[in-house]
């Protein structure tokens, strides 16, 4: 997969020194929960291997029930793995209770102690570690400064807004200077505007403190914005690990393509290493090692597709298929065209999204068009 390598090297995940120990490494980790009466145990996490590099912002992304939270909870120590090994900086922690692990968690519900003030909440971990009083005071003040909660030290969590509670939860974890910070959908309870602001803030904070963040979310946009690397999970399996660009531009499976962003899927048959054809023989280009005659699925993002009139001049560098515009949706920042392609065994629709800058040609329902894209924009899916 030459393309893949190309993207990876330009991505942010430049190769770490080979000797470096991962912050967190999971090895063949499996978690089974007992099923209901007489039923089979439920496999929440199925045999996953994962290495998280020291200092990176790593996201576990997937729909609810995919095992991402269970994975995080096993790293935190709230669940013990049924099999496998969990190492934090090369120390096996699989069966250690949470209070003996060098990690801290920001909970989805924040889990702020309602009977303690902000300062008491933040100081809790240090008190438990028997840090001296002066030291506690200094560090609490420092972290309150970091999350900009000055003047609210003596409030109870109930008296704070959602965003402020979120900062307290973050401060309460960070003050302990954990080796790894675990975040379980920490922005889920915030409204959109605040969430977007916090995304940036969280990322900046992570860069500032230099602690490895392991971030669980079901929000693909959040994961793409913040992460150095993303692991996409589904039904207990790790589907793909890579930089946001890799995951977005080159999804490896139908699930990843579909879950992250919007995508068009085209069924094609491989002709040779560089070409495949749609049902009616329209050639499209791709990179594939598959043998001639293999049926493959191509995934192309709507915004990577171009639209020209059917009678426009051909550009042979771009793949092109024929179709008819059958729906136009104005989206404000873009225009989405739904085009029916006759080229398949059965007609199928694809979605094209074009920017709304002046000079871009607009189309109407019924227009005959050609849809075209650069070969590198199409990913060959493995399933």
């Amino acid at each position: 997969m030459s393309e893949m390598t190309e993207v990876t090297t330009t991505g942010q995940t430049a190769a770490p020194a080979p000797t470096e120990t991962p912050a967190v490494s999971l090895h063949a980790v499996t978690k089974r929960f007992p099923g209901g009466k007489g039923s089979e145990p439920v496999v929440a996490v199925d045999h996953i291997d994962l290495g998280i590099i020291d200092g990176e912002f790593f996201s576990l992304l997937g729909p609810s029930g995919c095992g991402k939270t269970t994975t995080l909870r096993m790293i935190a120590g709230f669940e013990y793995p049924s099999a496998g090994s969990i190492r934090i900086f090369d120390e096996e922690v699989g069966l250690k209770p949470p209070n003996k692990r060098p990690v801290n968690t920001v909970f989805q519900s924040y889990a702020l102690f309602p009977h303690m003030t902000v300062a008491q909440n933040i100081a809790f971990g240090l008190e438990m570690k028997d840090v001296g009083r002066d030291e506690i005071q200094r560090r609490v003040a420092e972290v309150i400064d970091l999350v900009q909660l000055e003047g609210r030290e003596n409030r109870k969590p109930k008296q704070l807004s959602g965003g402020q509670q979120q900062r307290v939860a973050l401060a309460r974890a960070l003050v302990n200077r954990p080796k790894v910070l675990l975040l379980d959908e920490p922005l889920g309870a915030l409204d959109l505007k605040l969430r977007q602001a916090m995304q940036i803030e969280l990322k900046q904070m992570q860069e500032k403190v230099g602690i490895t963040f392991v971030y669980v979310t079901h929000d693909q946009e959040e994961a793409l914005t913040m992460s150095d690397r993303i692991a996409v999970m589904d039904s207990g399996n790790l589907l793909q690990v890579g930089s946001p660009e890799e995951i977005y531009d080159h999804p490896r499976t139908r699930f990843v393509a579909d879950f992250i962003g919007e995508t068009n899927l085209l069924e094609a048959t491989v002709v040779d290493r560089r070409t495949a054809e749609l049902g009616d023989g329209t050639p499209v280009r791709l990179d594939s090692d598959a043998a001639t005659g293999t049926a493959v699925t191509l995934a192309v993002r709507p915004e990577k597709l171009g639209l020209v009139r059917a009678d426009a001049e051909r550009n042979h560098d771009l793949d092109a298929v024929h179709g008819t515009v059958d729906r136009v949706t104005f989206m404000g920042n873009a225009i989405a065209y739904h085009v029916t392609i006759e080229g398949g065994r059965i007609p199928f629709g694809i979605e094209i999204r074009q920017g709304n800058a002046p000079g871009i040609e607009h189309f109407a329902v019924g227009d005959e068009v050609r849809v075209r894209w650069a070969p590198s924009s199409a990913s060959v899916l493995e399933d």
Binding site: A76, G77, F78, P97, P98, N99, K100, V103, N104, T105, F107, Q108, S109, A111, L112, F113, P114, H115, F124, G125, M128, K129, R172, A173, N176
Partner: protein, 289 residues
């Protein structure tokens, strides 16, 4: 629903749609007043009659504190009062500790015999008082027979047996109340404590216990009230010499009523109401601060 605030009906034109609802609301309000009258009038009558000087309960002569004076002179009443208080305090203390532990064990852990214990814990709540009374009577009779046979020590029913019996039903009620509180408590708070390096015990003492404290207090209050309220079980497991105040009153009622009983009743009433109002005030101040 639009009938939520009937009291502050706006002075705007009354439309015909709102009218029938208002009738319904009036009927509901009337019913509510009658229910409150039904709940409070008997208590008021009792209180008023306890200040009646006459020997006959129903014939009003003049207000006096005569029966209260006699009550405080009455050594059996005062003895029974003391027994009641001792039993209530002891059984509440023990059952609060055991019941809270049982609630924690059922709500925060998973183990095999849990369902059986769950059932065992619920039974004393649903069983009729009379059955529980009979059970415990037979148990103590049988147990004391065995003790006499084995050790030659004769034991008799009294303050001890009443306390043991009250603990038996109070554990269940305390556990019930504390469990309700625990199940409403986000378990991620306890996880957060563990995540912040707290040991099991510290997490309990610093996080769980302060947060379930209202539930524990509520359970203790319920236990105290139930213990002071109980007639049937205490009647069966008390001995000839020691009785609780309700058992004494119950016995007196069987012999026919005397105004003295009114005064004792008001004493018990005031005691229990003070208990509830006091605890409400305390809990309000605590949550308010």
């Amino acid at each position: 629903m639009s009938i939520v605030d009937a009291g502050s009906a706006p002075a705007v034109a009354e439309d015909s749609v709102a009218r029938p609802r208002r009738t319904v609301d009036r009927v509901l309000a009337g019913n509510a007043w009658m229910v409150f009258a039904f709940l409070y009038l008997p208590i008021l009558v009792l209180i008023v009659l306890s200040f009646n000087d006459n020997d006959r309960v129903g014939v009003w002569t003049e207000a006096s504190l005569r029966w209260y004076g006699e009550m405080f002179q009455h050594s059996r009443i005062m003895g029974a009062l003391r027994t009641s208080i001792v039993v209530a305090v002891l059984s509440t203390a023990v059952s609060t500790v055991l019941g809270t532990a049982a609630a924690l064990s059922l709500e925060r852990f998973r183990y095999k015999s849990q369902r059986a214990f769950d059932g065992l814990l619920y039974l004393p709540v649903i069983i009729p008082d009379i059955t529980m009374a009979v059970m415990l009577l037979l148990f103590f009779v049988q147990a004391f027979d065995i003790v006499l046979l084995v050790t030659g020590v004769g034991m008799s029913r009294g303050l001890g047996t009443i306390t043991l019996a009250h603990i038996a039903f109070n554990i269940s009620f305390v556990a019930l109340v504390v469990r309700a509180r625990l199940s409403g408590l986000d378990s991620s708070l306890e996880e957060a404590a563990a995540d912040l390096y707290a040991s099991r015990w510290l997490a309990f003492r610093r996080v769980t216990l302060p947060l379930i404290a209202p539930g524990v207090a509520g359970g203790a209050l319920l236990a105290l009230t139930l213990s002071l309220d109980d007639v049937v079980i205490a009647e069966f497991v008390s001995g000839a010499g020691t009785t609780t105040l309700p058992v004494f009153v119950f016995g007196a009622l069987r012999r026919g009523i005397s105004p003295l009983i009114n005064a004792v009743s008001v004493l018990m009433l005031v005691g229990s109401i003070l208990l509830v109002v006091g605890s409400l005030a305390i809990s309000r101040r605590r949550t308010g601060g």
